[in-house]
Amino acid sequence: MKHHLISATDLTRDDAVLILDTAEELARVADRPIKKLPTLRGRTVVNLFFEDSTRTRISFEAAAKRLSADVINFSAKGSSVSKGESLKDTALTLEAMGADAVVIRHHDSGAPHRLATSGWIGGCVVNAGDGTHEHPTQALLDAFTLRRRLVGGRNGGAGADLSGRRVTIVGDILHSRVARSNVHLLTTLGAEVTVVAPPTLLPIGVSHWPCEVSYDLDAVLAKSDAVMMLRVQRERMNAAYFPTEREYARRYGLHGARMARMPEHAIVMHPGPMNRGMEITAEVADSPRCTAVEQVSGGVSVRMAVLYLLLGGAWPADTARTDENGQPA
């Protein structure tokens, strides 16, 4: 599966550390007056977005451009073609145009997997978020920030993983692709993950995930090195996932008093966009412990590393690229 990045489970510990280390090196480019490397000159990266996500799209776009790739932005939202036809036909079109990598955001879980395994295209597929399934580059950028903050040292903890670090993920776990990818990736990197949510927002089957599960945020704060607050859509209360915004904020929101119970070194993370007053108060969001903005800048470096390694460089233990059947690509 090293030809694609569909799920955080595609990555071994060494794969993930290599991506983070590569991202650290590439991050230094951002400090130069000319923020551009020639690595992917002549390669074409398509951002195929079936769902609005300006943040993720511009992050991938910046990453590809800093590596000198040609970038095509394809927004399929609002297309009059039926959904089924459009994914296949769009894929065939991109293939005909010679896309070397397709970065796909899709409202259906599994669409990137389908794109990568259907034989419709030959290029690399990078999952930029599919339905309520996964968002592996978000997990990688979260790991990047975690490593910088919790391991630190020169080069942002290069070579290290997250062994022994305790990360708590709070919010709508049921519908969160960020949570799914993070549980897998952070566990792969040696972290101990706890997910916290009201029982209505945890999937049936969560007990089989490689993490702890808690309904009680206050009980886990004191033993967390990082607390990741997920965005909770207000509309969820209309489907009776929780009674009111206020009740949700009281029981699962992170406010100043709760933050004060976290260890001194612990950080607050948020993948954005934030619902201030819902899952996180302004006081916490604007505090120096909150890494939301840092996560965004790390996102460009991590996505550069992913594109670089998929398209240009070599992955460890798998220098020859293979397709899904294990045949040399």
């Binding site: 039926s82 959904k83 089924g84 036809e85 994914l87 296949k88 899709h106 409202h107 259906d108 879980s109 599994g110 669409a111 997997h113 389908r114 395994t117 259907s118 599919d130 339905g131 309520t132 399934h133 996964e134 692709r177 799914r180 999937p203 049936i204 089957g205 969560v206 089989h208 995930w209």
Partner: protein, 431 residues
């Protein structure tokens, strides 16, 4: 048109027994014995073949009228014959819906014209499958189609009062309501079985309780009003327990299981290949084992295919956009042999019971599901149980190709099928 030819089947193992000869004279089995001879009769050498009564499917989507791009009555009945069936019940969710005497008569007539197997239309319970108003059940029963089984299949009759009234109403003509048990609110947007795999894949779950809660309610309603209820495509271990309990009370409850629920599990969804998308969804290994056991002990009365053809483009897409359903007529008997016979759970007489006698009894089809004996209608199928082959969808008689068994090796092959004495399949090919 009355069939008058004679056919001598030589050396067939009737219901798996020792070799016997069987003479078909016209539309009837004339004689069963050893060393039969019949001058002028066509001879079928059936050495090593199993002879079963023609199979009866309680649950087939023939798609005509309205979706002739996926199947027609003609192609669907050819597929049925190829699978060893001599009668199928055509589900009502066509366009227009089979909710009037006119539509069910049209489907019935198309079936009679096809000649490959008897087509017994199922009537919709409610107008347009909308669950708002009872369809003219009596008119459908009194039509040429003589509808006995009524179902809103594809949709659940979820309103308890509507279900009660339908159950009561059809008592007047010994009808049965075949329920698609799916609590709609618990399954909004549902994509697959809710459990460990759905949690991992991020696909909205279709919980077992959505099926079981409706079955629990319906068996209680059937008991209360003294009516017959039939549970379509039962798929969970919990549903088995409920049906077992209802039967222990002596209530008139019957149930069917599909071949795919006897074999496949939700692990296959990890591929995100929509060929595995079906409603009710593929469940867990535990459910599969409970279903096999229930079919063996008779808690589940019969196997019904839920043959659901879809055009290629409705499956050649991402999971969320794909249609639900699988074709199954041409692989049903092979899957039953593989899951039930080769595992020692059912013998061939029991296969004849579950795939012919019981479904015919539930649908009150007089000429089908009969013993293989002299004087009975010559609705028969001959199976080679030793044959093994990899499923090749391109070889199907069905117009659609959405089989979940592509590339899978399955045992058994139907070589000959007779409908009232006339061969509909000869040497494995519909004729």
């Amino acid at each position: 048109m009355t069939h008058t030819e004679r056919t001598l089947i030589r050396g067939a193992r009737i219901l798996g027994g020792s070799p016997r000869d069987l003479l078909i004279d016209g539309e009837t089995v004339a004689e069963v014995g050893t060393g039969l001879s019949a001058a002028g009769a066509a001879v079928v050498e059936a050495d090593g073949l199993i002879l079963l009564p023609g199979l009866v499917d309680l649950h087939t989507h023939l798609r005509e009228p309205g979706r002739e791009d996926s199947e027609t009555v003609l192609t669907g009945t050819r597929a049925a014959a190829a699978g060893g069936f001599t009668a199928v019940h055509a589900m009502a969710n066509t366009f227009p819906v089979a909710d009037t005497a006119g539509v069910v008569e049209q489907v019935w007539r198309l079936g009679a014209e096809s000649g490959y197997c008897d087509v017994q239309p199922v009537g919709a319970v409610t107008v347009g499958l909308e669950g708002k108003q009872l369809a003219e059940l009596g008119a459908m029963h009194e039509s040429a189609a003589r509808v006995v089984v009524f179902s809103d299949d594809g949709k659940c009759v979820d309103d308890a009062v509507m279900m009660r009234r339908a159950l009561e109403y059809v008592k007047a003509f010994d009808g049965v309501i075949a329920q698609h048990a799916q609590e709609p609110r618990l399954t909004e947007g549902a994509q697959m079985n809710e459990g460990i795999v759905s949690a991992e894949l991020g696909l909205a779950g279709w919980p077992a309780v959505a099926e079981e809660s409706i079955i629990a309610r319906d068996v209680l309603l059937a008991a209360h009003v003294g009516s017959r209820v039939h549970v379509c495509h039962l798929s969970t271990a919990g549903s088995v327990e409920l049906v077992r309990w209802a039967k222990s009370k002596g209530w008139q409850v019957t149930a069917e299981v599909t071949p795919h629920h006897l074999l496949l599990t939700d692990d296959l969804v990890r591929s995100y290949d929509p060929v595995f998308k079906v409603n009710p969804p593929l469940r867990t290994e535990e459910d599969v084992m409970a279903l096999r056991e229930a079919l063996a002990d008779g808690t589940i009365d019969c196997v019904a295919t839920d043959h659901a053809p879809h055009p290629h483009e409705d499956k050649d897409c991402e999971w969320g956009a794909a249609a639900m359903g699988m074709i199954g007529l041409e692989t049903a008997l092979s899957v039953v042999q593989h899951t039930m016979v080769d595992t020692g759970l059912l013998d061939w007489p029991a296969v004849a019971d579950r795939l012919s006698a019981r479904p015919a009894a539930i649908g009150r089809l007089g000429g089908h599901g009969r013993p293989v004996a002299a004087g009975e209608p010559a609705n028969l199928t001959l199976l080679d149980p030793a044959h093994r082959a990899v499923v090749e969808p391109g070889a199907f008689a069905s117009r659609s190709r959405n089989t979940p068994y592509r590339g899978r090796e399955l045992p058994g092959r139907v070589l000959h099928t007779f409908l009232r004495g006339r061969a509909t399949v000869r040497d494995g090919v519909p004729v």
